[in-house]
Subunit: 197 residues, 2 copies
């Protein structure tokens, strides 16, 4: 029993190595190459711990936030990254990602399959304080990458400040001080020509 359970868990660990091959639109902060999902996920897990003091809800369970973040992009092993400003790609995003979640979390022992699937759905639904703060951090991250690469991915996709601001609303809600920080950063980005006005 124990050996079989560990075998399943190790199979999952092996499978998710694929996340290191899923490329995002964002560039590393030195601009040298595009970031992959595993790198992004490590970075936002650190950010969630570092910036917790700015969360609107100071009673939230930060361990759960980190768990949500660490697994939220695993579905992209099957679906690939859908660029945040790609409206077409968003049409069937939920169905494609749900199928991927079932396959990937399906590798786990039954109890963990259910628990981790529930966490993935919690993040997607964005209804709990943990899911909202996690989403805020997930959205803040590519803004930093874009800003420090002088808008490399924004420029490539002709993104406007209005489109970015719409996606950033969750930050102002879940972490007001970070929302104010992002507003200023976006203003500077427009002034410097990194982002369309």
């Amino acid at each position: 029993m124990e050996a079989e359970r560990i075998r399943q868990q190790i199979q999952f660990i092996r499978e998710i190595d694929e996340l290191k091959h899923v490329l995002r639109q964002s560039y590393l902060m030195n601009g040298s190459r595009r970031e992959n999902d595993a790198e992004h996920t490590w970075h936002i897990a650190v950010m969630a711990l570092l910036l917790q003091e700015h969360a609107a809800d100071q009673t939230l369970d930060v361990k759960k936030v980190v768990h949500l973040l660490l697994i939220h992009d695993l579905v992209e092993i099957d679906t690939g990254d859908t660029f945040a400003y790609d409206t077409k790609g968003y049409e069937d995003k939920w169905e494609r990602e749900l199928a991927a979640a079932k396959r990937i979390f399906g590798l786990l022992p039954a109890d963990q399959r259910e628990a981790w699937m529930a966490l993935w759905i919690e993040f997607e639904e964005g209804q709990t304080a943990e899911a909202r703060y996690a989403a805020a951090i997930d959205r803040l991250h590519p803004v930093l990458h874009n800003f420090y690469t002088e808008g490399k991915a924004w420029k490539a996709h002709h993104v406007s400040v209005a489109a970015v601001k719409k996606r950033m609303a969750v930050i102002a809600e879940a972490a007001p001080a970070l929302g104010r920080f992002v507003d200023e950063l976006l203003e500077e980005a427009v002034a410097k020509g990194y982002l369309l006005p």
Copy 2:
């Protein structure tokens, strides 16, 4: 005050992007390229959550374990990765890494600088249940990468099973069932010629 604090935190987030450029000896599980520290760190954070049930100490604080893991390799931004079986590189490892920790955590606001530095030292000292379980996961990870790439990094460095077993002792201590799993995996690795007998 608040804005200055966020500015320092964002500066830290920007600095640690460099971890994505620190290459390890291990290859990705499909053998295509070497893994970097950010990818490794994401993977072991997931593993720590997934394998917690196997920890000898079931009262440990897994949130702390994840925090220890997420930041334990940041010093390698300055020092680079020291290969586990490089005895020469280990001679002045502590001094080099301590200087790096002071510089990198020194970017943080004072309270976080102290707290995160203390966590980094806790991992290095390996005296708490959290640090021991974290170390066990950190050591298990490259074994999996080596096994699934048919010993790619082991072969490149002529590593013997005795040397690997010595480093794996912490796994048997901190998570006995995982220790048994690793013993079997190493036996198979030798039988298949991935690792020197």
